[in-house]
């Protein structure tokens, strides 16, 4: 378990402030945020590589605020793996055991175990420079896990990989994490990556935690305009609630009125995710949120098509390819867009 209590860190000109976080044992927690948000500094602070200005770090209930990194039982894997270029794969992997002066039979036993886990036996004699991205990643993970740490810290572990090995490594990481039941903190700026791996997500921006919750919570109920933007909610409209009754509220923005079943009393933004919007050629019979509009742009994204529809405010909608082709839409077409009041989230 990782527990951060009111952590403040300053590294050169960068600050982390008021970081409070609890990650349960065996959880896979993803720290999500834009570049420069302080994600790596947060990981390094947990590893003990930066002194805290204030606050405490507890690992499995033990206060390690003043413990040196080598005694914390935390392993870190960086984006470009930071393999030691002067050592062979074998020497890289057993580095952590060597510096602890473990005996050769114990080292061999651990090496055999990790080789089975990551299938790296054929790579052992090679130098890191001769490995592919995916192989380097496996070596870096082996090196990090052979010491059997309590906590695994992953700093953008997938971003240096091509899309094919990314998929492979993603499931390798997740499977290994579950098999070893190791508490994992994974840093990324990629929202899709966070959604696919996380048990919980921490959104961080400008050195502060903005939101913490389960992936679905972050996805459907972003707590701020920043989180909504960052999670690709796309349709974020500024306005205000103009009427409310028990069942439905009306949110007015840019001259249109949006019905919502949100229970918020005060709100500044209405958020509608692009995949929650229906597009039809005919006016839908029963929908409280239904607006006519014109197709302004079409962006082909492979499996999905992103449409921009002008209905006073611009809406962005994500349409499955099959449906898009069936409707044979083109720019300038008149369409109706509609969405359920329950799909409107107020901030």
């Amino acid at each position: 378990m990782i527990e951060l209590k009111n952590v403040h860190v300053k590294v050169v000109d960068f600050r982390l402030e008021q970081i409070n976080l609890v990650v349960s044992k065996g959880d896979y927690c993803v720290i999500l945020g834009p570049t420069g948000a302080g994600k790596t500094v947060l990981l390094e602070s947990i590893a003990g590589l930066h002194a805290l200005r204030q606050g405490a770090v507890l690992l499995d209930g033990k206060d390690v605020t003043n413990t040196v990194p080598e005694e914390r039982g935390v392993s870190i894997v960086y984006q470009d793996y930071a393999l030691f270029p002067h050592l062979t794969v074998r020497e890289n992997i057993i580095f952590g055991l060597r510096v602890r002066h473990m005996t050769k039979p114990k080292i061999d036993e651990a090496l055999e175990w990790i080789c089975g886990l990551f299938e790296i036996q054929p790579l052992l004699k090679r130098l890191p420079a001769t490995l592919s991205g995916g192989e380097r990643q496996r070596v870096a993970l082996s090196r990090a896990l052979i010491t059997k740490p309590e906590i695994l810290l992953l700093d953008e572990p997938l971003s240096a990989l091509d899309s094919e090995s990314r998929e492979e490594t993603r499931s390798l990481i997740k499977n290994t994490q579950q098999k070893l039941n190791i508490t994992t903190l994974h840093v990324t700026h990629d929202f899709a990556e966070a959604m696919s791996l996380a048990d919980s997500i921490v959104v961080i921006n400008q050195g502060k935690i903005v939101q913490f919750g389960k992936p679905s919570e972050i996805f459907y109920h972003p707590c701020s305009e920043f989180v909504a933007h960052f999670t690709m909610a796309r349709n974020i409209f500024e306005g205000n609630i103009i009427s409310q009754d028990k069942q439905e509220k009306v949110f007015q923005t840019n001259g249109i009125e949006i019905f919502t079943s949100s229970d918020k009393i005060m709100a500044r933004y209405a958020v509608i995710r692009p995949e929650m919007i229906q597009i039809t050629l005919e006016k839908p019979i029963s929908s409280s949120n239904s607006f006519p509009g014109t197709v302004k742009s079409i962006v082909d994204r492979g499996a999905n098509i992103l449409l921009t529809i002008d209905c006073l405010p611009f809406f962005e909608c994500l349409l499955p390819r099959q449906q898009f082709e069936k409707m044979s839409l083109s720019i300038g077409n008149q369409v109706y867009l509609s969405f359920l009041p329950s799909s409107v989230h107020l901030i």
């Binding site: 390094e44 590893a47 003990g48 590589l49 040196v68 990194p69 080598e70 914390r72 935390v74 392993s75 870190i76 894997v77 960086y78 930071a82 030691f84 270029p85 002067h86 580095f95 952590g96 510096v99 602890r100 420079a129 090196r143 990090a144 010491t147 740490p149 810290l153």
Partner: protein, 274 residues
């Protein structure tokens, strides 16, 4: 006969297209020749018999061995004292860091005779450290110790700067990973940082050694005797003229050239291995 104008046209067009390269190549050739000709002349055109005689002359031999030995000890001292400073400068920020870096570079630009006088002021028998060292039996004037401190002063910047660049090139995240894997800061330095910066440290040490071997200005003021080779060249030139000075100078040039060839060979081999 239309071939010649065509060739001329092609040559002109080549010259126009590659004008920058042509101009730069000519200027480069001038500076290469400027360095090469005097060194080549002293080595290849000096009288072979005189060169051989100089090599058999015990005074010359003794001075060459003394020079190599003194410069080696100097490089060793520089290694022990300079590498920690290089590491601190590469990895830490602290007040007045810029001044410390400037100070380290200063011996390169200060006239070396002035360095000799400054060292005499500190290590001379009647001054500061000199007095104390004198009391424990170490003398700097006209002694091996004097040669070493003169060499150390002028050559240590080469090692510190080279090692500093080497340490800077080592990704700090490798050190971080090593720490989290259980290595103490000493182990990290010994197993990761030092081996990765080794090439720059070795280059700096060899540069320092070579610079020590060729030092004259500072050594001559602090320790005219025992005579290092550069002082011997000067002495022979002053007392007997050019013909006596050339063979000794040639030997020193050859030795320095060998160190440099060896040094480049080691670096190249190491680069290939990486």
């Amino acid at each position: 006969m239309a071939v010649i104008p065509r060739i001329a046209r092609a040559a002109r067009s080549y010259l126009v297209r590659r004008r920058l390269l042509v101009v730069f190549s000519v200027l480069s050739l001038l500076i290469i020749l400027f360095v090469f000709i005097p060194l080549a002349k002293i080595v290849f055109l000096s009288d072979k018999v005189a060169l051989w005689q100089a090599l058999l002359d015990p005074t010359v031999m003794k001075s060459i061995l003394l020079t190599l030995y003194a410069a080696l000890i100097t490089a060793g001292i520089g290694f022990i004292l300079g590498i920690p400073l290089a590491y601190i400068l590469a990895r830490n920020t602290f007040p007045l860091k810029g001044m410390v870096e400037g100070l380290i570079d200063l011996p390169i630009v200060v006239p070396h005779t002035a360095v000799g006088i400054a060292l005499l002021f500190v290590f001379g028998r009647n001054f500061l450290l000199g007095k104390w060292f004198n009391s424990v039996g170490v003398h700097f004037v006209d002694s091996l110790a004097g040669i070493i401190i003169a060499m150390l002063f002028v050559s240590v910047p080469f090692l510190i700067n080279s090692a500093k660049d080497g340490f800077r090139k080592v990704d700090v995240r490798m050190e971080n990973v090593a720490r989290t894997l259980g290595a103490s800061p000493w182990q990290v330095f010994h197993r990761v940082t030092f081996p990765l910066a080794w090439r720059s440290i070795m280059a700096g040490t060899l540069m320092m050694w070579a610079r020590g071997i060729s030092e004259f200005g500072a050594v001559v003021i602090l320790a005219y005797y025992p005579m290092v080779t550069s002082t011997l060249i000067y002495e022979r030139f002053e007392s007997y003229g050019l013909t006596q000075a050339i063979p000794v100078a040639a030997i020193l040039v050859i030795i320095c050239a060998f160190i440099f060839i060896g040094f480049r060979f080691i670096l190249q081999r190491d680069k290939k291995r990486d």
